[in-house]
């Protein structure tokens, strides 16, 4: 058989469970809604970095699973998160991306979050401190203590990232949620305060999981001339991919040969604490977060799913808060040369997932998306994606390869091989 007709194209691949997924998981509206409800509303998300909220009364706004969220630093310097929704008539309280409440707003007094609509105001702990013309309108039937903001779970953890959960009942800390997946970079990120030096965002017509997949698999280094020429040696092919509870993965390090790319230079002069020069680790956290440390610069991707075929990706670059001017500039240049919007790799990655997004649509003949490479859990193994989709299947109770069926736990690969051998009568 060479090319295939409809039946052949739709036949179950001759691979084991978990080694392929149905493209419907990347395009189906109902599955997308299910994901927002059962995954994104239930988990911890690192919505920003504490260096974006340096001073008391500073704030940042964002969206988590369609919910408008505001993160503020109180005068006690504690970072708290709230729904950015006014308890009066549901207006979004803060419309700016960032700012500081030390200055008053047109409807409100300094040091309060004031809703512009009817001027109800709230302190940095979410307590309502003013209902305008309260006595005239509510007499003694309603008072401030009954109309506080909706507070959300919030933790500052792992190099100063601000984590938020919409789920009051999450029952686990960020550390427990990470299940050891952050340990590999914790010494480098926790040694001293970090600072964001880069931020940009992209809205891409593809499913958020396609971006996460691309961050999880390195087989696609064929896409990147830069990575082929600076990698693709024995040490590169020995890099380990390892899974952690909760669908998170790590990609192990090696020494990148930056000199091999014409016009590029070794980055040994500058690294992160405890990170050997030119090394490169990656953490992909379920359901859509990536920490990527290439020697001198840390990158963090945060996905905000907007629809089955639309994702906003926020890209942050971080260095050490104590950086000299020169070191900071070096980190910025290293970061941008690969990961900026004009960088060598990022544009290529985004092109590839755009291509996937445009080929998958809800009414399409199913595409069996193959995640079947096994290379001893090294860099071109696709175990990272398999690990992710096992967790995804469990949480949604849908089989990733047949999302209309219930999830069945994956047997270990060795068991699968044995089953296959037995079935073949070997």
């Amino acid at each position: 058989m060479s090319s295939r007709n409809h039946d052949q194209w739709n036949a179950t691949p001759d691979l084991q469970q978990g080694e392929w997924v149905d493209s419907k998981i990347y395009s189906d509206e109902e599955i997308f809604e299910d994901e927002l409800k059962k995954i994104w509303s239930k988990t911890w998300i690192p919505v920003c970095h504490e260096s974006e909220l340096k001073e008391a009364y500073s704030f940042r706004t964002m969206t988590v699973a369609r919910e408008p969220v505001i993160v503020v630093r109180g005068k006690d310097m504690v970072v708290r998160a709230f729904l950015n929704v006014c308890p009066h008539r549901g207006n979004m309280i803060e419309r700016r991306p960032s700012g500081n409440y030390k200055r008053g707003t047109p409807s409100g007094t300094p040091k309060t979050m004031t809703c512009m609509f009817h001027a109800w105001s709230f302190d940095m702990k979410g307590k309502c401190v003013n209902i305008s013309r309260k006595a005239e309108g509510y007499q003694d039937r309603l008072n401030e203590s009954q109309v506080g903001l909706r507070e959300l779970k919030c933790e500052v953890y792992f190099g100063g990232f601000v984590w938020v959960s919409l789920n009051d009942d999450i029952g686990i800390t960020v550390e427990e949620f990470a299940a050891g997946s952050l340990d590999v970079l914790a010494p480098s990120l926790n040694q001293e305060p970090l600072e964001v030096f880069h931020y940009h965002k992209a809205i891409i017509p593809c499913n958020y999981k396609l971006w996460h997949d691309t961050n999880c698999e390195f087989y696609h280094d064929y896409l990147h001339y830069h990575n082929r020429i600076t990698g693709f040696n024995e040490a590169y092919f020995a890099r380990k991919n390892s899974g952690f509870d909760g669908g998170h993965i790590n990609v192990g390090s090696f020494e990148v040969q930056y000199d091999n790319y014409e016009g590029s230079h070794s980055r040994e002069e500058l690294s992160f604490p405890h990170l050997p020069p030119n090394h490169w680790y990656m953490i992909d956290m379920f359901p859509g977060v990536n920490f990527n440390l290439r020697g001198s610069a840390l990158r963090c991707d945060l996905m905000t799913p907007l629809g089955p075929n639309s994702v906003m990706i926020e890209f942050r670059g971080l260095g050490l808060a104590s950086d000299s001017k020169k070191d900071r500039q070096t980190r910025i240049d290293h970061h941008n040369s690969i990961w900026g919007p004009f960088g060598r790799n990022l544009h290529e990655d985004l092109l590839a997932v755009t291509g996937q997004g445009s080929s998958m649509h809800p009414m399409a003949e199913s595409r069996k998306i193959l995640h079947g490479r096994h290379e001893n859990e090294t860099i071109h193994d696709e175990n990272g994606m398999r690990h992710y989709y096992e967790e995804w299947g469990k949480l949604l109770n849908r089989s990733p390869s047949n999302p209309d069926e219930k999830f069945k736990p994956y047997p270990a690969f060795k068991e699968q091989e044995a089953q296959r051998a037995a079935a073949a009568g070997k």
Partner: protein
């Protein structure tokens, strides 16, 4: 001198406009030729999200030459970018040895292969808007770029590009 200044201003304008054609048409060598050896290039934008000035791209002349010389080895969106530029202000230094200019810039992208070419090819949209903040060295009859800052208003570049702006 007054007349000479007027001529110099005209020459600076001409250089900015010619450079737009060079960049539009990927005549990278012509662009590099018109940059001084100590040339510096940067694309920057202020991010109201993190309240900081962000450098997106850039480096010295050698770096920009390596960027353009390596393009053919990279997978890229080949959808053409076309600049619309208006030089707003040119200032010639009193000694006549340097100049500075501010130009308004819009860059349009006409889809070719960036999405689904059957549907999207031929569609033009605004890729970015911003300004060129340029500095020049004037040496006898020759004017060269010493510094170019592309100051962006647009901060959603989505897929981005490999091409200098």
């Amino acid at each position: 001198m007054a007349e000479n200044k007027h001529d110099l201003k005209e020459q600076v304008r001409e250089l900015i406009y010619n450079t737009c054609i060079h960049l539009d048409d990927h005549q990278w060598e012509h662009w590099h030729d018109n940059c001084a050896d100590n040339f510096n290039y940067a694309i920057r934008a202020f991010s109201p999200e993190v309240q900081a000035d962000i450098k997106y791209h850039g480096g010295d002349k050698e770096y920009m030459q390596s960027i353009t010389s390596m393009l053919s080895k990279h997978n890229s969106d080949q959808s053409p970018l076309r600049r619309h530029c208006t030089v707003y202000r040119v200032e010639i230094a009193a000694d006549g040895k340097s100049a500075a200019a501010i130009s308004s810039l819009a860059v349009y992208q006409t889809q070719l292969d960036g999405i689904n070419s059957h549907v999207d090819a031929g569609t033009t949209s605004v890729f970015l808007v911003g300004r060129y903040n340029d500095k020049f060295i004037i040496d006898g009859g020759s004017i060269k770029f010493e510094d170019r800052e592309v100051r962006l208003d647009t901060r959603r570049l989505d897929k981005g590009t490999h091409w200098p702006i």
